[in-house]
Symmetry: C2
Subunit: 319 residues, 2 copies
Amino acid sequence: MCSLPVPREPLRRVAVTGGTHGNEMSGVHLVRHWLQAPGELRRPSFAAMPVLANPAAAATCRRYVGCDLNRAFTSSFLSAKASPDDPYEVTRARELDQLLGPKASGGAFDLVLDLHNTTANVGTCLIAETAHQVFVMHLCCHLQLQTPELPCRVLLYRWQGEESYNVGSVAKNSLGLELGPQPQGVLRADVFARMRALVASTLDFVELFNQGAAFPAFEMEAYRNLGGVDFPRTADGDLAGTVHPRLQDRDFEPLQPGAPIFQLFSGEDVCYEGESTVYPIFINEAAYYEKGVAFIRTEKFTFSVPALPALAPTPTLVP
Amino acid sequence: MCSLPVPREPLRRVAVTGGTHGNEMSGVHLVRHWLQAPGELRRPSFAAMPVLANPAAAATCRRYVGCDLNRAFTSSFLSAKASPDDPYEVTRARELDQLLGPKASGGAFDLVLDLHNTTANVGTCLIAETAHQVFVMHLCCHLQLQTPELPCRVLLYRWQGEESYNVGSVAKNSLGLELGPQPQGVLRADVFARMRALVASTLDFVELFNQGAAFPAFEMEAYRNLGGVDFPRTADGDLAGTVHPRLQDRDFEPLQPGAPIFQLFSGEDVCYEGESTVYPIFINEAAYYEKGVAFIRTEKFTFSVPALPALAPTPTLVP
C-alpha cells in the first residue's frame, strides 16, 4: 500500500474545528468554551486553535444555512470567482481555506481535527480519508489505546479517485471525530466529555511526536465506505417505511444477506439483498434523509501501517 | 374538583393531527400514510380525519417556519385581523381553527389527538390541559390499561387561569401523545409502532363510548407542570454547562433537593436548590434550548375522576 509522506517537522499549526454542522452540539459548545478558555488546547510545543466553522448555522442550530459546508471544499468551489449569489457555506469554505489552507499548499495547517455528532449509534468513530495517511493512522491507533474498553472504529470515507471535499481536506493531515448517538440540537454531558477527552488525547499524541517519539508499525482494522442505501419510498418520494427495529442502533454490526433492513408502513419487511456481509453505519442519521441515505454500507478490512519515524533532532546551535 | 361537561352525544368528528412540529417524525409520517390509506382510522360509528398540521415545517423538517404553531391558538392570534406580515404559523392556526374549531364553539370537533415526539426519555406521555376534562381522563385511563407493562404517564400542562394555546384547544376534547426519546428528523420504527397503537386504542375507546359503554369513577395519578429550569449560562447567554449525567434520561424520576442537575464546562456540578422533591420531565429536549428550558419541574398528585355515564340510547322512531 502506498503511503503519504510523514511529517519531517514538528506539527505546530493545529486547529480544532467544531460546528461544521451547526446543530451538532458537542463541537459547537467545546469550541465556544475554548474560545473563552484556550488553555486546555495548549501543549509545550504548540497551541491548537479552536475554530467555529459554521457560525451562521450554529447561531440558528441548523446543519447549514445554504448548503452543506462539509461538502464545499472542492477545488471547483474554492477556486471559483466569488459571487453575491454564492451560498453562505461556499463563501465560508473559502474563508476557512484561507485560514487553515490553502488546500494542498505548503502553507496549510499541519493538522485539523473536525468535531461531529450523529444521531446514529456509532459510539466513537474516527473518520479519515484513506489508509495512506500514515500520521493519521498512528493518531487513530493512539486514540484507540486510550480507551480500550470502548470500541473506537476507524472509517475510511473517500472513494478511490474521488476529490476530497471536507473541511479537514484543506490541511496537511486531518481527522474527523464522529460521536453518537446524540440528537441534533442536544448537548449530552457524556458525549461532550468523551469528545473532550479524545481532543486532549490527540493533542497529547502530537506533543509526543513533536518531542521526538517514534511509533512502530502495526496492523489496523478499519471500515471502508461502500455507498449508501436509501429508504423505501412511495412514487412521490415520501417514505414508505423506516429502518427495521432489528437494524436500528446496530451500527458496525455485521448485516447478512436476507436480514431485514426496513419495515414498511404497510407492515411488510424489506430484506437486504446484497451478496455478502456488510457493516452498516450511520443507520437512521437525521441529516441523511435528504441525501437519500438510510444507512451506509461498509466493509471491514485490515492493513499494515508502516512505522512513524522520530523527527530528526533539532540541530543545536554551537555557542 | 369541578368537572367539565361530559359528551351527551356520540363523538363523530375526530381528528388526528401530526406534524404540528415539522421535525417530529412519528406524527408526520403516520398522517402522510393515513392520508393515502385512511381505512385504519375508521370505526363503525365514525372515521377520524388525519391532518398534517404544519405542512410547510414538515416539508423542510423543521419545528416551525416562523413561530411555534403549538403556541399560536390563543384568542389574540385567532381573532386578530389577518396581515401579510403574519408568521406562517399564525395564518395556519387560523386555518386549523376553521377546520377543527372554531375554538370554544358548538361547531368544534369532538376530539383532537395531537401527535408529538421529544428527544427526552419520557417514554409514553399523555398531555392533557387539566384534570377537569372527565372524558379525556377516562381516555387516558383506557390507554394506560392497554399496555400495563409500559409506564404511560399523564401530564397536566395548563396553569390555572392561563389561556389554552395548543392545536387541540380548538376542539371540545383533546389529548397530546408525546413519545420519546426520538431525535428530531429521525423516524424510529419502535416509536412509530407505539404511537400507531396508541391512536388505534384511542379510536377504540371513542367507539366503545359511542356504542353506549359507561366507565366507572377511578383515582388518577398525574404530573402537574411547575415551570421550567434554564441551563447555566454565561453573561453572553451561551451555555456554561449542560444537563448532569445523573439527571439525563431520568424523566419522571424523583429529583431531591441537593442532587446534581447540571455539569458546568469548567467541571463543577450545579445542584438542585428547590425545597421539595420534584419530577423533572422534558430533560434536555432539543426544542426547549431556545425557550430557556433545560427541563420542566412537575409534582405528582392523585385525584378522583368521576364516572363517565353511558350515552342515552338513541330514541327509536315508532313506525
